[in-house]
């Protein structure tokens, strides 16, 4: 098939209105889990404010469980009837969940030492926990359709970028791929919907790149 001749709009069979209603219905159907995810976001902010290897491993494990939940409940159960590619996305999210859980189980000597990149990663996590939902509300999304860390893909992916940026060595790069890909996909989806916040996931990706580049530069100047 001549996939290259297709624009993203040709492949997305739903409207922004339907997408937001789906999010609202999903939030309502899983209200206790959504509340748990919100609390988890605050917990992650707390335990990574003074990140240690043990705390970061705990955070990675918790986030891994979130990816598995989103794979099952959001993509497989809620989105599959509306989007032909939803099950592929579910498998991608499940794989990332397993990766995060694996990263949590493996020993970790220390978190990133450089203060500035670590601080930037923490602020990125804060954007995931609070910034994205608030930006959605400010942009006119109904509050019922806001996405929250733990249960919605965007804030969970951005939080994963933040935690990956805190992780040392190759582990960071391994954990970055899926959330980075989702950020690009999400931006494409939102752009197709003409959603004014389409730029937020790539902006988060850019902040992650800055944090990683800065830490690499500081590492080489040591």
């Amino acid at each position: 098939m001549d996939w290259l001749s297709y624009s993203p709009a040709d492949l997305v069979p739903l409207s922004r209105e339907t997408w937001l209603r789906l999010l609202a219905d999903y939030n309502q159907a899983h209200l206790p889990i959504v509340a748990l995810g919100m609390a988890l976001g605050l917990l992650l902010l707390g335990i990574t404010a003074h990140a240690t290897a043990a705390r970061l491993r705990l955070a990675l494990g918790l986030l891994g469980a979130c990816w598995l939940w989103i794979a099952w409940a959001f993509f497989h159960q809620a989105l599959t009837p509306l989007l032909w590619a939803a099950d592929w996305l579910a498998w991608g999210f499940a794989l990332q969940g397993v990766l995060l859980l694996g990263a949590a189980l493996l020993p970790m000597a220390q978190v990133v030492e450089q203060r500035w990149p670590l601080s930037l990663a923490w602020w990125l996590l804060a954007i995931a926990v609070l910034g994205l939902p608030l930006a959605g509300f400010a942009a006119g999304r109904p509050w019922q359709a806001l996405g929250w860390l733990g249960t919605a893909p965007d804030p969970t992916a951005v939080a994963s970028l933040a935690l990956a940026a805190m992780a040392p060595g190759h582990r960071a790069w391994l954990l970055l791929a899926a959330p980075a890909l989702w950020c690009l996909l999400s931006a494409t989806l939102l752009a197709v919907f003409a959603d004014p916040l389409w730029w937020l996931p790539p902006a988060a990706l850019a902040l992650t790149a800055v944090s990683l580049a800065r830490r690499r530069a500081q590492h080489h100047t040591k």
Partner: protein, 312 residues
């Protein structure tokens, strides 16, 4: 009067007489109790059977899942469609929940009211076509489809054999092939020249007119009915005309709005059998269905319409 298709006008007068005489009962509900002209129908070349020229697409607009409020609106849209004499409804397994939504929202007497049910085969597995069609049939809640098409030529060599066998067995009335966005016209042309298909679906509107060069003439030559998709370019064409007055010729062809003129332009092409605009609004459905009820523009007026639209 210059600019009118006189054959078309004569046909309308004749049809009006036939309706009055009760010879065309399927068209009667569209005009019962009103002075509105009947919905335009065009012949399917292979069978001579007439098809309402304005049909309905479901891309995006019917992919609403289980949302009760959205389903209620779709029921209203379908009611408006059939009340105005609509016939063909086109969907695909690629359109998410659109087929399931049709199954939940089609009136129970849709077939009696003139439903022409059209869907597509959309799987790269050449052996899975029949299974997918059976699933689609269950979703729509219909005993059989009127038209089955291969979606965007995907694995068409295998699927066309399945469809031909189904047509021979009386499990479907017509079979066809689809493309969109002007893609793969050369391959489609080869298929049209070689395969015994009844319908072809392609993108044709006042701006996207590549099909005029070879595909539409070939369709006439081979006796293949043509469904025009993306008549509004997913809303971009009406958006472009929004707030702009319709030139004087609009009144001559019985159109009040640019969207009606855009649809009339399409179905006025002699090779086009049906256009399938999609909408999620009842008022837009009514507006669509009011198109092509006046005299159809001839070739000269169609050129003028395209030129006027290009200036917007």
């Amino acid at each position: 009067m210059p600019g009118f298709d006189h054959d078309r006008r004569r046909l309308l007068h004749a049809a009006t007489g036939l309706i009055a005489a009760g010879a065309l009962p399927r068209l009667a509900p569209a005009v019962a109790g009103s002075t509105a002209p009947a919905a335009l129908t065009k012949p399917i070349p292979g069978s001579g059977e007439r098809l309402p020229a304005i049909g309905m697409g479901t891309w995006i607009t019917f992919n609403v899942g289980d949302d009760a409020q959205a389903l209620a609106v779709r029921r209203e849209i379908l009611e408006a469609f059939f009340a105005a004499g609509g016939g063909m409804i086109d969907a695909s397994p690629m359109y998410g929940s659109a087929e399931a939504v049709l199954g939940k929202t089609l009136p129970t007497d849709a077939t009696q009211r003139g439903l022409i049910a059209a869907t597509k085969v959309w799987t790269s597995d050449g052996n899975a076509g029949a299974r997918e069609i059976a699933h689609s049939r269950a979703l729509w809640g219909l005993p059989r489809f009127d038209l089955l098409q291969v979606h965007n030529l995907l694995a068409w060599e295998a699927h066309i054999e399945t469809l031909k066998a189904m047509r021979a067995a009386g499990e479907v009335r017509w079979i066809g092939m689809t493309t969109s966005h002007g893609r793969r016209h050369r391959e489609l042309e080869r298929i049209m020249a070689r395969e015994p298909i009844d319908f072809v679906q392609l993108t044709y509107n006042i701006v996207d007119r590549a099909a005029e060069e070879r595909l539409l003439p070939l369709a006439r030559e081979r006796g293949i009915a043509v469904i025009a998709n993306r008549p509004y370019r997913r809303g971009a064409l009406p958006d472009r005309a929004a707030g702009k007055p319709l030139p004087g010729w609009g009144r001559e062809i019985g159109c009040d709005t640019w969207p009606q003129a855009l649809l009339t332009f399409i179905v006025a092409h002699p090779a086009v059998t049906c256009a399938i605009p999609a909408t999620s609004r009842v008022d837009h459905m009514r507006e669509n269905m009011a198109a092509a009820r006046g005299p159809l523009p001839d070739a000269a007026l169609r050129r003028r319409m395209a030129a006027d639209f290009a200036k917007l």
